[in-house]
Each structure stands twice: as C-alpha cells, then as structure tokens.
Symmetry: C2
Subunit: 129 residues, 2 copies
C-alpha cells in the first residue's frame, strides 16, 4: 500500500496516516487480520517521527479499527455490526461537515449526491492497481 | 444563541465554537448579515481566551462563512452557490468519516440514512425555541 504524507497540509501527519490506512482497508489493500508495519518500520519508511506513527496506531485502536497486540503489533480487526457508541461517534463526526455544507450553500440533494459519489469512490478499487 | 463549551472534550475549544456558530446559522438562530459578538465579548461570555475566539472567527472567515470587516467585526455572509473549491473541501472533509464508517462495519444504506437524519436534525429548529 502506498502512503503519501504531505508535510505542508493543514491535516496533522498522524491524521493523514490514520486516514490513509482506513482508506486502504476500505479499498481492500489492507485486509482484516493483516499486521501493520511496526512503528519503527513505518516511521522510517515515511520519514516521520516514531511518535507520530504511534499516535496514529493508537487512534486506529481507539476507533476499533486495529487491535494492538504485545507481540505482533497493530492487527486490523473485522468491522463488526456498528454498536451504538460507534453510530454516535460517526454522527458527531458527520454533523459539523454537513452543517458547514449547508451554510456554504449546498442543497440536501447535493450533499446526498456527494455522499453517494464518495462511497462509490471509496469502495471501488483503483483500476490501475 | 446559546453556546456551550466543553473544556474536557477532545474537540479543541475553537473548533467547538466554530461548529456551534455554523449550526446556529443552519438553524436560523444567526442570520446572514448578523455581526458576531466582538472577540472580547465572546471570550468574556464563554470564559475562554480571546486568542481562542480569534482563531475560531478566522476559521469561519477561511471557510467563507463570515467576512471580517475592520469596523464592524465578523459578519455572516450569504451561502452562495457552492464553488468548485468548496465542493472539493466538503468532499475531503466527508471522505475520512465515510471511510471510517465502512471500516467500522456501516453499510452504505446506514450511512445514507445517517446523513438524511442529520440533515433533518440540522435544518429543523428546536421545538422549544
């Protein structure tokens, strides 16, 4: 899986890494049961601080995307049926983006179309891979 | 408009303020043309640092939600038709949340329902106000 960090982005580096790992799982480039590279290896590979990679792996564990195991490292776990806490979490993450869309002048239809387009993009593997 | 800051939240205070102002505009509690309280007044009112309020107002200006005028302060501007940059911005904000939803086990239908429910909530004024 190819991860690209943009140091000049306004999105913190650990967050860029977290998002790209999640997108990799959605696209099937990373599979359930896969172990992520060790913190040290990932940091060296991306040329970022180990602390940054550690923060990203912890965030993934908090979200329930990976399980941190003492011996094997960060293992991707199966997306189970959503529990109530996860639904609440997703709602709270979606709400400010939608509110901003409305304030900027987006119609509900536009936002729904955007969601559908993004879901298609996310779940379709790149044609060239 | 009632703004509530939760100091213990993982969401930064300036971001909490930004989101609540945007939601206030969506709900019609703050109207286009309205001037937000001065940085000093808002900070005193919420018991937060002026720097925090300033950061929030600047973020609102960057998003195109308010215009900062030298004399009158932060004035809420009209949500025009979305331009390409704003669409891209919204897509980039939505994408990681949706990817996370899928990884956590949400179906596309669930995410669409969530979006519709949130849009209803956002655009409905509180019954008690």
């Amino acid at each position: 899986m190819f991860i690209m960090i943009e140091p000049t982005s306004s999105v913190p580096i650990y967050e860029q890494l977290t998002r790209q790992i999640i997108e990799g799982i959605v696209k099937g480039e990373i599979k359930v049961g896969d172990t992520l590279p060790s913190v040290r290896a990932m940091a060296a590979d991306l040329g970022v601080n180990m602390h940054t990679v550690n923060k990203s792996y912890k965030a993934l564990a908090e979200k329930g995307v990976v399980t941190i195991k003492a011996k094997s490292g960060a293992v991707v776990c199966a997306g189970d049926v959503l529990n109530e806490q996860q639904i609440l979490y997703l709602q709270q993450a979606l709400k400010p983006v939608l509110a901003e869309g409305i304030v900027l002048g987006a119609t509900e239809q536009q936002l729904e179309n955007m969601l559908q387009q993004l879901l298609r993009e996310l779940t379709t593997k790149e044609a060239m891979l």
